[in-house]
């Protein structure tokens, strides 16, 4: 049998192994929603506190909360359900066309197929993009996005301060004519138009372990 250390070190992104940690049998997956290399550990609840304490006892380990997870996933350009994607958005608008396999593209027959296949062929009317405010003011969810002459062209769906980027960042949906990287826009933050521009996602390159 492999030592857990050797086996774990060889795991690639989105693969998993069963290992024993702190006396508990764990499912260890090299996954997560931060854009970084990392692991998600599933184990019986009775052993969870002991494994958490074992990890936290190491000097290089610090606990973080949901706020850090949220800023990391935003910097990685990852969607938060109920915010960046929901029942009113399509995978094509969200630039998640990679989630639709070839068989489904050929055969259809899934919920929303008519709309999704049409958008795959013709393009979506609105697109999820990265937005970088030019000034220091963060633009939060629901901030209206307007074009150069003040006409509304979209809405911020996630926004805040990116600790790794060192400034405000956002993502949201804009009319397809305003979706190209570099397009100048403005964000209506508390009624004031703040200049911004469209940028490519992610804000911080992914660092998944690919082996």
């Amino acid at each position: 049998m492999c030592t857990p250390e050797g086996e774990v070190a060889r795991l690639g992104f989105i693969t998993a192994a069963e290992v024993v940690l702190g006396g508990s049998k764990c499912l260890l997956a090299r996954s997560g929603y931060t854009g970084e290399d990392g692991f998600e550990i599933s184990l019986p609840a009775a052993g969870a506190a002991a494994v958490a304490e074992m990890l936290l006892a190491r000097p290089e380990v610090r606990p973080i909360g949901l706020g850090a997870r949220d800023s990391l996933r935003l910097e990685a350009g990852l969607c938060l359900y109920g915010h960046d994607i929901d029942e009113t958005t399509t995978p094509i608008e969200a630039t998640l066309a990679w989630t639709i396999g070839n068989r489904r593209r050929a055969e259809g027959g899934f919920p929303g197929a008519a709309v999704v296949l049409r958008q795959l062929a013709e393009g979506a009317p609105r697109i999820r993009v990265g937005i970088r405010p030019d000034g220091p003011a963060p633009a939060r969810e629901d901030t209206p996005i307007v074009n150069a002459v003040g006409v509304k062209v979209g809405r911020v769906t996630s926004g805040g301060f990116g600790p790794s980027t060192g400034g405000p960042i956002a993502m949201g949906y804009v009319d397809r004519r305003h979706a190209a990287a570099g397009t100048p826009l403005a964000l209506l933050v508390r009624g004031t138009a703040r200049p911004a521009h469209v940028v490519r996602l992610p804000f911080v390159p992914h660092r998944y372990y690919r082996g």
């Binding site: 706020g67 800023s71 220091p136 003011a137 963060p138 939060r140 301060f161 600790p163 405000p168």
Partner: protein, 125 residues
């Protein structure tokens, strides 16, 4: 000793001559976490007690800073625009937000003193 008073929204106000200096408390900055942006009103702008006077944003959230007393904005701490982290480092000193020309100094009487504010925070937990 200058008069120092606190609001239930975690602002502090200190009398400095005929001006009232306003900021957020150490407890408030610790709850917000790293402050990344501060939006200040314009000098000459009038604010009413309990109404929004400024905005403070941390990585976690955007929050309003309410005027503890009514008055006219006499000064703003422009250094916070470039160095918002001063709010975390020295919330009761260099991290002040605005100076108000008070309409009615009696409005301070309705606010908590330091002991009262300490008890108020303890009751929140």
């Amino acid at each position: 000793m200058s008069t120092l008073r606190f609001t239930r929204d975690h602002e502090w106000v200190r009398l400095d001559g005929d001006l009232a200096i306003v900021g957020i408390t150490d407890y408030a900055q610790s709850q917000l976490g790293d402050v990344v942006y501060v939006e200040l009103p314009e000098i000459g702008h009038r604010v009413a007690k309990g109404k929004e006077a400024a905005v403070v944003e941390s990585v976690k959230a955007a929050s309003e800073v309410y005027a503890p007393v009514s008055g006219e904005i006499a000064e703003i701490n422009e250094t916070l625009t470039a160095e918002p982290a001063k709010v975390n480092a020295d919330p009761m000193g260099d991290g002040w937000f605005i100076k108000l020309r008070l309409d009615d100094p009696k409005e301070l009487d309705g606010l908590m003193d330091e002991e009262g504010y300490k008890r108020f925070i303890e009751e929140q937990h």
